[in-house]
């Protein structure tokens, strides 16, 4: 520990931090959920990882995302259609957003690009249980998607629409508070 080194390094460091007091911050002011959500989402970087979104219309029920998830955030249940035993149907496709760490590992193996990170991020809830995104309603099971042979692109709804609807449903009417 030499005095000269201490003094010069402190001198240098203090001058740098002070110079930041006279500059504009690099961060952008968050306007809040009540104002112009769309404009904020357009300002996000192109590969922003928001809440996950699954388009059930292009989901092949391959369960690759479920296997890829390192912390079991995704829960898929596939049953035989009682009316037509040869037909498999998805009765459940839940993503626990409260547990998700937004790593993107589930997006990689998806053959049709059905599961994607949307740009939604304003999803605060008073109860952790409310953070489960349910992409399949139990009363309306989803059929697996059969891609046409040799297809390279798959039709998909506009990214963010489905998750945004689900988030809205969280709030209106508020879901029941699950007691212990």
């Amino acid at each position: 520990m030499s005095i000269k080194e201490a003094v010069t390094s402190v001198w240098e460091g203090m001058s740098i931090t002070l110079s930041y007091m006279f500059r504009r911050p690099i961060t952008v002011q968050y306007a809040g959920p009540e104002t112009s959500q769309q404009s904020i989402q357009h300002a996000l970087p192109s590969r922003y990882r928001g809440l996950l979104e699954v388009d059930m219309d292009t989901c092949t029920a391959c369960q690759a995302c479920e296997r890829a998830c390192p912390i079991n955030v995704i829960a898929i249940e596939i049953e035989k259609d009682p009316a037509n035993p040869k037909q498999r149907v998805m009765t459940r496709f839940d993503i626990d957003a409260g547990k998700c760490m937004f790593c993107g590992l589930c997006v990689e193996p998806c053959p049709t690009g059905s599961i994607q990170h949307s740009r939604e991020f304003e999803a605060s809830q008073t109860n952790l249980d409310n953070l489960v995104l349910r992409f399949v309603k139990p009363e309306a099971p989803a059929l697996p998607y059969r891609p046409t042979k040799g297809a390279t692109a798959y039709p998909r709804r506009v990214l963010g629409e489905i998750t945004r609807e689900l988030i809205k449903r969280w709030d209106t009417p508020p879901p029941p508070f699950k007691s212990e």
Partner: protein, 422 residues
């Protein structure tokens, strides 16, 4: 304070020495002063918590809290309300009595010092003739609080934090005590107001820039006080990355708040102490001591002088508080061994050398200049010119160089100085 009460009693047409209600008047005055000073410490701590977060944010190129009230100015009120309403949790294996008691030791250590701290010319609760001694003694109480909270929590993190804090505070009291003696020798008194009166309004009249010993002692005291107040770079007791939060890990709610009340209130105490001892205290530039003596003799000290001295003192303190915040967000933490070797291998010998040299200089200047050596030296005298040259060399030139370096740092990144979006 006593004189003020006596004057009020005389105004009411009574003789303070014989009036039956005089003790009650004193008691009420004490209560008012106590509540006033405690509230001042609390409000200052709150505002500093907000300000520190804003400054930290700017230094990290962020915006910081700006949602609660205009510019986020009410953030500290919201935080305090939140802390008050939170559940007061006590760990089941904790020593309940000591656990509850510990925060008050820290709080008392901080608030008690306001008894002697000056705020301006004749402004302050008291002017004790052993004010400095009282202040050093009162701040020493905080070690007990830190150690108690660490031990009573019955948690490893807390205990480590408490032990580190105790070791740190006890060692740094030594250089602080030695450095404090340099201005005491120069002023010939332990009374904080008398020490300020021995200095002057302009920087070259301050004890910091009068002698090299004062200059060195200023830095020793400043570093030692940073360490005693557990501020970065000496925040080992609450090292977040190692000890979660150190001695206050197990605390929650308003008890947790007391720790931070004490920490931020302590910023004012530290800065006021350094301002008093080395930076001329409430001395208003342009009003020389002979002028003030003349006013006092004729009993016509103008009201504006009271206001100006208050303003000068508070400005100096606020600037120093900002420097402490600035240091916190610039420098990384010391290791325990570095912290100890800085204290015992550098600060203590330097402070001791300063003390001996200051005493020798005091005797020498008495021999050379006679009894007038205790008085302010005008710029026309030899001593005055020496002080001025020393100030320019150690204070003025580095300040200009530093400002240029900061401007250069901004220019190098191709940015411009921009104070918008504060």
């Amino acid at each position: 304070m006593k004189q003020l009460v006596d004057q009020l009693v005389v105004r009411m047409g009574q003789d303070p020495s014989t009036w039956v209600l005089t003790p009650w008047a004193y008691l009420i005055a004490m209560m008012v002063a106590g509540v006033g000073m405690t509230s001042f410490a609390a409000v200052f701590a709150g505002l500093t918590s907000y300000w520190e977060r804003r400054v930290a944010a700017r230094m990290q190129s962020r915006v910081g809290p700006n949602r609660v009230g205009p510019f986020g100015l009410l953030q500290w009120v919201a935080d305090a309300l939140k802390l008050i309403m939170k559940e007061d949790l006590i760990a089941s294996s904790a020593d309940r009595v000591l656990f509850r008691l510990a925060p008050y030791f820290l709080l008392i250590a901080t608030v008690t010092t306001f008894v002697v701290l000056p705020f301006g010319y004749r402004l302050g609760v008291t002017d004790m003739n052993v004010g400095l001694f009282f202040l050093v003694a009162a701040t020493a109480l905080s070690v007990i609080g830190v150690l108690l909270s660490g031990w009573a929590s019955n948690s490893k993190w807390s205990l480590f934090g408490g032990m580190r804090a105790a070791a740190q505070v006890v060692s740094y009291e030594v250089p602080a005590g030695l450095a404090v003696m340099v201005p005491v020798i120069a002023a010939g008194s332990l009374s904080l107001h008398t020490i300020i009166r021995a200095q002057g309004g302009f920087p070259w009249d301050w004890f910091m820039f009068q002698t090299p010993m004062g200059f060195a002692a200023f830095f020793v005291l400043f570093l030692a006080l940073l360490a005693e107040g557990n501020r970065t770079p000496f925040d080992l007791p609450e090292a977040e990355s190692e000890l979660v939060s150190g001695y206050n890990t197990e605390y929650s709610g308003i008890r947790f708040g007391y720790f931070f009340l004490a920490e931020w209130g302590n910023l004012w105490v530290m800065s006021a102490l350094v301002t008093t001892l080395f930076l001329g205290g409430w001395q208003v530039p342009g009003v020389s001591m002979p002028q003030l003596f003349a006013w006092e003799q004729a009993d016509v000290v103008p009201m504006w002088f009271f206001a100006a001295s208050l303003l000068v003192f508070c400005t100096k303190v606020v600037v120093l508080v900002n420097v402490i915040i600035w240091i916190r967000w610039t420098l990384p933490r010391f290791r325990v061994d570095q912290m100890m070797s800085l204290c015992w291998k550098w600060l203590v010998p330097i402070a001791l050398g300063c003390l001996v040299l200051a005493a020798a200089t005091e005797v020498a200047s008495f021999e050379l200049f006679g009894p007038s050596a205790r008085l302010q030296a005008p710029l026309t005298s030899v001593r005055g010119v020496l002080h001025f040259v020393f100030f320019v060399a150690t204070g003025g030139v580095p300040l200009v160089l530093f400002a240029r370096k900061v401007a250069r740092n901004i220019r190098l990144t191709g940015e411009r100085a921009d104070l918008g979006n504060w």
